[in-house]
């Protein structure tokens, strides 16, 4: 779309300056950017209708204040954190186990090549996966604390319910990617439905299955540290009570413990996954 100045009988003459985009693309790009900027400004105004700017301008001094209260972290508080930490690990691990156990049948029902009915059952399984994925574990915990009372059980069930979607989605994608020839070979021996899954599909998805479970366990450790904020047990309860009593030096200690746990679980899960794949 460069400028063409063609006189009669002359060969076409192109503009000498090379440009990155055609004028039309440039125009579209600018319109897009302006629209985005306008949308941003509009949203910004709606969002900040009720913002009290006096608090915002006050923030640096608040930050300095909190920072000075947090430092030095109260290390004498550490022994008290061991039991909640054990609880947190249990929430994450038992929650992952529960979630994986629930997710496996859902994944087999959702995968196109193993579902008994693509018309009826597959959409139900997909809906279970989507709704479990779109609700954060903290919201699950909030609900479960209201229903079955505060404590570890609510946390475990929340983690399990949240994990169904994640594990189910990745697992059913892995099942759909399995090699159809191996499945066919097993079917050709006269194997029944369950035997086909056992000998044809399970060996193919097993490494993916353990990898996904480890990955989810790592995420769950991270999430279970904060479930206590809504009363679902673990180290988050300690965090909540320290924040409520404005004991910022204890908060600092808890944050260090949480960060340490997350880093350790992340390296562990990365190691196991690397060994699997």
């Amino acid at each position: 779309m460069s400028a063409l100045d063609t006189g009669p009988g002359e060969p076409p003459h192109y503009s000498q300056v090379w440009t990155f985009r055609t004028p039309r693309a440039r125009l579209a790009l600018w319109v897009g950017w302006v629209a985005l900027a306008a949308l941003f400004v509009w949203c910004w105004q709606i969002m900040n209708e009720n913002t009290l700017w006096i608090f915002v301008t006050d923030a640096p001094s608040q930050a300095a204040d909190i920072g000075s209260r947090m430092f030095p972290p109260e290390l004498a508080y550490l022994p008290e954190l061991l039991m909640p930490l054990w609880d947190t690990l249990n929430i994450a691990t038992l929650g992952t186990v529960g979630g994986v156990i629930l997710a496996v049948p859902v994944a087999f029902l959702a995968a196109r090549n193993t579902t008994p009915s693509a018309l009826l059952i597959r959409p139900v399984a997909l809906f279970i996966i989507v709704s479990s994925r779109s609700i954060n574990s903290l919201i699950w915990a909030l609900l479960l604390v209201a229903i079955i009372g505060p404590g570890l059980l609510a946390g475990i069930v929340a983690i399990a319910l949240r994990s169904i979607g994640f594990v189910g989605k990745l697992l059913y994608e892995a099942i759909e990617e399995t090699d159809a020839r191996q499945v066919e070979a097993v079917t050709a021996t006269g194997a029944g439905r369950a035997q086909v899954i056992h000998y044809g599909i399970v060996p193919q998805v097993l490494p993916a299955f353990w990898g996904i479970s480890m990955f989810r366990w790592d995420i769950n450790i991270r999430e279970s540290t904060i479930l206590g904020l809504v009363g679902a047990g673990g180290i988050g309860m300690k965090l909540q009570s320290s924040i409520d009593t404005l004991a910022w030096s204890q908060v600092a200690t808890i944050l260090i413990v949480i960060l340490g746990t997350v880093v350790v679980s992340e390296t562990l899960s990365a190691k196991v996954r690397r060994a699997l794949i």
Binding site: I66, I135, L142, Y199, L259
Partner: protein, 269 residues
């Protein structure tokens, strides 16, 4: 034909994953030992759970018969806060994460810049949204502004890290070619790097928009505005029909944005 009769008549599936016999035996033992310990330290108040079942049934009822009307004003306000917060936070987060992402790519940046940017990324990634939100609410007061800052901060780590990884994977020959024409640093990024990573960056931004909306439903619990605050109130008041309505709205919007963003990404690539 002795060789024929010695041939195994029965086939046993070979062990998978763990091929050493010792580990195959000890691992289940370890797992059982852990489960005994963990379940032993679990204190389950069975009476409370049974008592909660009727409440659970009421919640499921509320979920099946959601009440959008009676709290519509609050829900509307929460949704507007969530959506505006999501958009502004994503835009600001992506704008900030572009220079940080370029800085954190080792094929473009000098070593000190690389280290600084990588550490910004890892700080932003290792802290959870909700913990950041607690601090920012304490500093900036309640409301969506603190939520906006939280989401923007969290977006930086996510987008910058993936962008940096993507830039590092960009074809070196194209960068070399543009560099050979005598291009300056900015021109290098504009003509060699940007065309290669732009589709990915747009995809990442859309994905992050999606995540930010989900997170905006959560950080309201600690006072950072948005639909989460409304949901928290509804559950605290045991108004399960309103809570069900909010959850359904969240699921619907998440599904919509997921499909929309995957469609857009496919269209752009």
């Amino acid at each position: 034909m002795t060789a024929n009769s010695a041939y195994p008549r029965r086939w046993k599936r070979p062990p998978q994953l763990i091929t050493t016999r010792r580990w195959r035996l000890t691992l289940p033992l370890l797992v059982v030992a852990y489960l005994v310990l963990a379940l032993g330290s679990l204190e389950i108040d069975a009476g409370r759970v049974v008592e909660g079942l009727s409440r659970g049934a009421r919640f499921i009822q509320g979920f099946l018969q959601p009440d959008f009307v009676s709290r519509w004003q609050d829900i509307r306000q929460g949704l507007i806060e969530s959506l505006t917060m999501t958009l502004t936070a994503t835009v600001v987060g992506v704008l900030i994460s572009v220079p940080i992402g370029i800085g954190a790519a080792h094929n473009l940046s000098p070593r000190p810049v690389y280290l600084v940017c990588r550490s910004i990324v890892s700080v932003s990634r290792s802290l959870q949204e909700i913990i950041i939100a607690i601090f920012l609410v304490a500093m900036f007061g309640f409301g969506p502004f603190a939520g906006f800052l939280t989401l923007a901060f969290a977006s930086i780590g996510f987008v910058a890290k993936l962008l940096a990884d993507d830039i590092e994977e960009a074809s070196a020959s194209q960068i070399e070619a543009i560099r050979a024409t005598g291009a300056s640093g900015l021109q290098l990024i504009h003509y060699a790097v940007q065309p290669q990573v732009m589709p990915r960056l747009i995809g990442l931004s859309l994905y992050r928009l999606d995540i930010n909306f989900r997170e905006s439903a959560v950080i309201g619990i600690v006072g950072a505005g948005g639909i989460g605050a409304t949901l928290n109130t509804a559950i605290d008041r045991y108004e399960y029909d309103s809570a069900g309505a909010i959850l359904l709205l969240i699921i619907a919007i998440v599904m919509l944005s997921e499909y929309g963003s995957s469609y857009l990404r496919k269209y752009l690539q």
